[in-house]
């Protein structure tokens, strides 16, 4: 018997894998993908709750999240391309302009 809990556990695990990726990896592309993963984890929660409360509001939210994720991915990748063009690197630790 699969309960709401199961979906939420899955969601939590995926979310924290994403968190781990953001904190652990230095490649900006991977960080970006980890963020996508975290968003998906959240979407999963939305859909699961939606199902278990029998209301479709969660679907709408998931839709919005996707739209935002798409925008974010687009902008993020554009910035990344720019960065690579200018500084020849995609390593997060090399980008310390704000500190200096």
């Amino acid at each position: 018997m699969i309960t709401l809990d199961h979906y939420l556990y899955l969601s939590a695990i995926l979310f924290f894998i994403g968190v781990f990726g953001v904190l652990f990896r230095r490649n900006l592309i991977v960080i970006l993908m980890s963020i996508e993963l975290m968003l998906n984890a959240v979407n999963l929660s939305f859909i699961a709750f939606s199902r278990y409360t029998a209301s479709m509001d969660g679907h709408v939210f998931a839709f919005f999240v996707m739209a935002v994720a798409a925008a974010e991915a687009g902008i993020g990748l554009a910035i990344l391309v720019m960065l690579f063009r200018n500084r020849r690197t995609v390593q997060a630790d090399d980008l310390t302009l704000m500190r200096d």
Binding site: E36, F63, A70, A73, A78
Partner: protein, 164 residues
């Protein structure tokens, strides 16, 4: 039956995610993520979220990931550019512990939600129903999200075009 399917799909999703963050080559990571995302689409299907299921495959696994892969190939990173200094053991351990604790905490908080699956009408989560909702109660957010996308498009064009 349902449980078995869930566990298999969940395992694929988690496995894909783990691969994604551990592969050094971002291209490999991207493909692992695609796997994970498609697995999630399966879970959406199980949750009778028809529209989201379709969008997940089309938009996420399709469009977004294609974009990511294109970018990776565009950058054409050489091997030495992928070099990552190994993270310190202690830092890794701390982060792992933190992540584990976070997981545990969330699970602890969330457990105890209602178990019974409510009955829903046949067309729950269908394109038609969700679309109806979006164009009635969520009309304004819906419109605004289109503006967000527009702005994102303009932004991307500007960013990628300008040579500084």
């Amino acid at each position: 039956m349902e449980a078995v399917a869930f566990y298999i799909i969940a395992a694929i999703a988690v496995f894909g995610a783990l691969l994604m963050i551990t592969r050094r080559n971002p291209l490999a990571g991207a493909f692992s993520l695609v796997v994970s995302l498609i697995a999630l689409a399966g879970i959406y299907a199980m949750l009778r979220a028809e529209l989201i299921f379709i969008l997940q495959i089309l938009v996420y696994a399709g469009a977004i990931m294609v974009l990511v892969i294109f970018t990776i190939m565009l950058l054409n990173l050489r091997e030495e550019e992928l070099e990552e200094p190994p993270a310190g053991k202690i830092k890794t351990l701390i982060i792992l512990a933190a992540v584990a604790f976070g997981c545990y905490g969330i699970i602890k908080v969330l457990s105890g939600a209602p178990d019974e699956v409510p009955r829903v009408p046949e067309n729950f989560g269908s394109v038609e129903k969700v679309g109806e909702l979006m164009l009635t109660s969520y009309l304004y957010p819906f419109e605004i999200i289109s503006v967000v996308l527009l702005v994102a498009i303009v932004g991307v064009v500007l960013l990628a075009k300008k040579v500084i």
